[in-house]
Symmetry: C2
Subunit: 129 residues, 2 copies
DNA sequence: CGGTATCCTTATCGATACTG
DNA sequence: CAGTATCGATAAGGATACCG
């Protein structure tokens, strides 16, 4: 029997499909600097625009707006506008969005546990040239 | 005490630290188009440069080279050069790299399971404007 | 308060050509 | 085979100003 360990992607090829394999499409979205952080923030519950801006701190309003809009389009975030003055807009995860919190936390936990090792590896690599 | 639901990130703020929180540093690396795919490919076992290029298919040699170099620096990938003609170079995951396969597969599985829902959501959003 | 429009700078990435 | 160097196109992202 051949003991070829299967890669986690059935196919990594992107050239031969109009719609790339799911992981590529998803990576296109969460691969930017902010999407992951916004989803993580919303994992803590419904938040207003300004609350998100304050929590993520160094995100520009421009990018926060774009990121939220895209997440809304993808069905991960629900946007609710209240007819008030001053305006109030709430953002919350949809069920689809909440289902993403599992993989997200797996990655966050890995980062917390292994960040030190990565920093060490970089240091080690730099010292040897 | 207040019952604020904790976000998965202790702090999302990037402004106040020289070294950002671990998840930011990790996202900086895997956030590009290729790192995740290369790690996934190497999850299938040790591979040569040209094998990786063939498997990922639409990656340029330039980007494959850069991605591998960075993963090597971060201690996720081990590079082995054989003194042969023609040259042979093997790439394999280190224990640190293999430990990343868990979070990676969690994300890949989520993408496989929910990609359809995302596509539907986009379609739905586009139809309504 | 919650955005959007515009401009501009920078970083990313691909193509190509070349090397050991 | 396994890269690296150089160049150029493109897009991501930040700053700013303005609007409902």
């Amino acid at each position: 029997m051949s003991q070829v360990a299967a890669a986690p992607f059935s196919s990594l090829s992107g050239r031969h499909f109009e719609q790339p394999c799911p992981i590529r499409d998803v990576l296109d979205r969460i691969g930017d600097q902010w999407t992951f952080l916004v989803l993580g923030a919303l994992g803590g519950g419904t938040k207003r625009f300004s609350e998100l801006a304050r929590e993520i701190d160094d995100i520009s309003r421009q990018m926060l707006s774009r990121t939220l809009r895209r997440l809304e389009q993808d069905g991960l975030v629900k946007r609710t506008v209240f007819a008030q003055v001053p305006p109030r807009v709430d953002y919350e995860l949809t069920p689809l969005g909440r289902s993403f919190l599992g993989p997200l936390e797996a990655l966050v936990n890995w980062a917390d546990e292994n960040h030190g090792a990565i920093v060490d590896a970089r240091q080690h690599f730099a010292e040897r040239g």
